[in-house]
Each structure stands twice: as C-alpha cells, then as structure tokens.
Symmetry: C2
DNA sequence: TAAATATGTTAGATGGCTCTAACATTTTAA
DNA sequence: TTAAAATGTTAGAGCCATCTAACATATTTA
C-alpha cells in the first residue's frame, strides 16, 4: 500500500485522526489521552508526537498540550471524510447495518485513491452526514454544522429529532437497534429521573422506552 | 488495520500472492524472481522466505526453489479472490475503467472483512471472472478453468473470443482501449507476420487492426 | 574440468513503531 | 509549602522489513 510522497503512514494517519477527534471533544489534547485512545504506552506516543511535530503536522512543547497545525487538520479531515463516506457507502450501497460498518471503515479510510472516493461521493449524491449522523467533510475539508444538544439535556415534555449518535461501537448501536431508535426519528421526553439521569421517551408508533443516562448522553438531537 | 490471529501482515500477504502467481506462470519460483517482482533485494526475500517457511506457508531449502504449502495456496487464493472481486466491483458498481482498477484493488485486497466481500460477491451475482477475464476463486478457493490460448498462437483465418488479458497494467489496457478491444469480443486473425510476430485481426463493425507480438501474446482467447 | 558467471546466503546496519524501567516535571492535597 | 500523586520524558531494548557488502553454491562455458 504505497502512499504519495509526503503522505503519512497508516500509523501516522491514525494518530492524526485521534488527535483531531480528541481535540473536538475536549479542546486540548494530552499525551495520556492519546495513549489511552490508541491503546499504546506513553513513551510510544511521546516519540510519535515528536516525529509529527518535525513534519509540521502538529505543534507541541514538552509538558504542554498537543495542537494540530492547519496542515495536520487538513489531513485529519481528509481521513475522516474517507471514513464517513466509506461507512455511508457500506450501509447504502452494500446494505450493511450501521452497527457493523465502523470497523470496515477503519480499514477503508486508509485507501489512497481520489478516484475511488470521488466515485463513492458521487454515487451517494454528495452526502453531508454518515450513518451515525456525523458530518462528512467536503473535498475541501469543510463541515456543515447544525446545532445539536444531547438527548440527556432535552427538557421534560420537549420533542426533538435524533440527529446523530456520539459513538460508533457495535455494542452501543446494537442496543439502539434493540430499542428501535434510528437517525431521523422524532422523540419526546416524558420523564427525566434526577437520581440516575435516565430518560423515558416516546416515539411515533412505539411504546415508551427508557434510556439510561450513559445512553441518552450519547444521542444528539436537533430541535 | 488489525488482522485476525495467525493472519499475515500486509507484506506477507504480498509475498504469498506473488509466489502464487509466479508459480502459475513458471512452475518453480526462485528467490531472484520474487525479488524482481516485489522490487526488493535478494537478502530481503531470503529472510522473508525463511520466516514464511517457519509459518508453514511454503516449503523451501537453501539454493532450491520455493513451493507454497496447501495452507499457503489457500491464503494466496483468498487474497486473489479479494483482489478480483474488488476489481469487478470497481468496474461494475463504481463505474471505473478496467485500466484503473488494479492499483485500487491492490489496496482493497488486504481489507479484512468477510462481510464486506460476501456482500460484494452477492451484489455482483457470484461472478467467476474479473474485468480482465481472470477467474475469481470461490469462497473455497476453487477456480473454474476454461481452456484458453494466446491470440499469438491462433492460426490465420481462425476466429475466437477474447476471454482475458494477461496483464493488468494501465499502459497495456490503455493500449487495448485505443484499439477498441474488450473482453468478450470476437476476433478473426487475418494475417500473422513471421518476421515480427505481429497479428492483424478483424472484429465485427471495426476495421482491421494490427497488434504487435508483445500485445497479442498477452491476450487470451477461447475458441 | 576449471574458470567465469549467475544465483543464493549470511552478517551487520537502519528506520519505523512499539515496549519497560528509570527519571523529571507539574498539579493537587495535606 | 512541602509531600504525594499524576503526568510526561528519556534511555535502552526488540521486532519487522528493508538495505549493502561480503561470502557461498550452482550452473554455464571455454
Ligand atoms: Mn466510524
Ligand atoms: Mn460514523
Ligand atoms: Mn489486478
Ligand atoms: Mn484483474
């Protein structure tokens, strides 16, 4: 799997992608977060971070946080774009379930071929969201952002539309499948329990369902 | 890109595949052939061959030829299956040209996902040949073999159907595109030049075309 | 058959990515 | 404000896939 000059290795791509998504979630990125996310030890991250700094993909100083440069962000967005196009393709064209596409997309995101991804993009009609509701960056890395809140923050009595899930893990998505929840569904919050943060919702044509806090937290809705 | 236990690395997969295809072409496989094909130096091949022998993927003794074991052949066929399914998929579903799919398939053949390839296989209707006419091994590694001869061996005056091309390189396939030759076309040999081995053919609805020996040699026909 | 040539192997090194063990700095808590 | 805890870095190692240089075997040719 040869890459173009100046392109990162598969390993580098995974670091860049993880740094990007951690920075989205938490602002600053720390060596330990990365080590945790990538399931490698601290010194491993430390040396890779130094290497990526030399390549000007990120800026960092010892004992300080990590920040992607513009170049680094651009690369991250390109990989994320490929990941999400791949996921949507697997669902819409190959008919796989949203709970099983992430692991395959982890592989496909490293495929180096403009043609391949241009075709997929075209075939899918230049989509803006993946099967989990996450935005797909366009060829220039631009993301269309809608305002979303977590279902766990939605007030009792309010209704909203499920826009995205904040987790691609199979076990989580299997759980949502069991509950019958899908992207685009309208839900209404009937009760919120102060004690455990659980949320009871209703949906058209379904009976009441209770979601635990950890689940509700990972569901993003639009009003 | 994690692999299952016992699965080879990307590099190992490429060695196995190359050994397989060289053994098809020439019977015995030598270290130097492999080095040549993979564009690495002899000692590199030498150490990898030793490693693969330890893994029982091939048998070899110093200064002797290399032979895949049953296990090695099975792995080779699995990779070739994925390569060819990928190529056909890229042509039939994504609408890419037969001259541009090989390089992408070189990457996709290493994707580890039964589901992914089962779906592609199903979507394509369990095909038996790739866009270049090469047979696609079934899930058990079985290949349906038709008797084919090279167009350069076809006698003057005889007709046959183009069944396959013996080369996936873009430059070669671009050349065939220019000549307007496709898999499935019926051709008749009008003249064979003894001096340079060139072959002049006719096809329905087209005027005479001359193919040089090196081209005719790489086109396989069925009577 | 002996020399020349082609082919294959061993030894030793390098770069990429990872690890453990030891040490350093920064943050938090007593 | 010092001690403890958390976090980060350096040193040194190993495995993988590759290389060059030197050496060994096999094949061809004179
Ligand atoms: Mn995903
Ligand atoms: Mn997703
Ligand atoms: Mn091919
Ligand atoms: Mn092919």
């Amino acid at each position: 799997m040869k890459k173009f000059e100046g392109m990162g290795s598969l390993t580098e791509e995974n670091y860049i992608k993880s740094i990007y998504s951690l920075s989205q979630a938490t602002g600053e990125v720390y060596v330990s977060d990365l080590a945790n996310k990538l399931r490698v030890k601290l010194p491993t991250v430390n040396s890779m971070v130094k290497k990526l700094a030399v390549k000007k993909l990120l800026s960092y100083a010892p004992y300080k946080g990590i920040k992607l440069t513009e170049k680094g962000k651009k690369e991250a967005l390109s990989i994320i774009r490929k990941h999400r196009l791949a996921e949507l393709f697997l669902v819409q064209v190959l008919g796989l379930g949203w709970e099983e596409v992430h692991d395959i997309a982890e592989q496909l995101e490293h495929v180096n071929s403009e043609r391949f991804y241009d075709r997929i993009d075209q075939m899918l009609g230049y989509p803006t969201a993946d099967p989990h509701g996450e935005p797909i960056p366009d060829v220039n890395g631009k993301i269309s952002a809608n305002k979303r809140i977590s279902l766990s923050e939605l007030q009792e009595g309010k209704s909203a539309k499920i826009a995205a899930v904040g987790n691609d893990e199979k076990t989580f998505l299997d759980h949502l499948n069991t509950k019958g929840l899908q992207i685009g569904d309208s839900v209404t919050v009937k009760r919120k329990e102060a004690f455990d943060g659980s949320v009871t919702i209703t949906m058209k044509g379904k009976k009441e369902t209770m979601l635990s806090h950890i689940v509700a937290e990972r569901i993003w809705v639009e009003l």
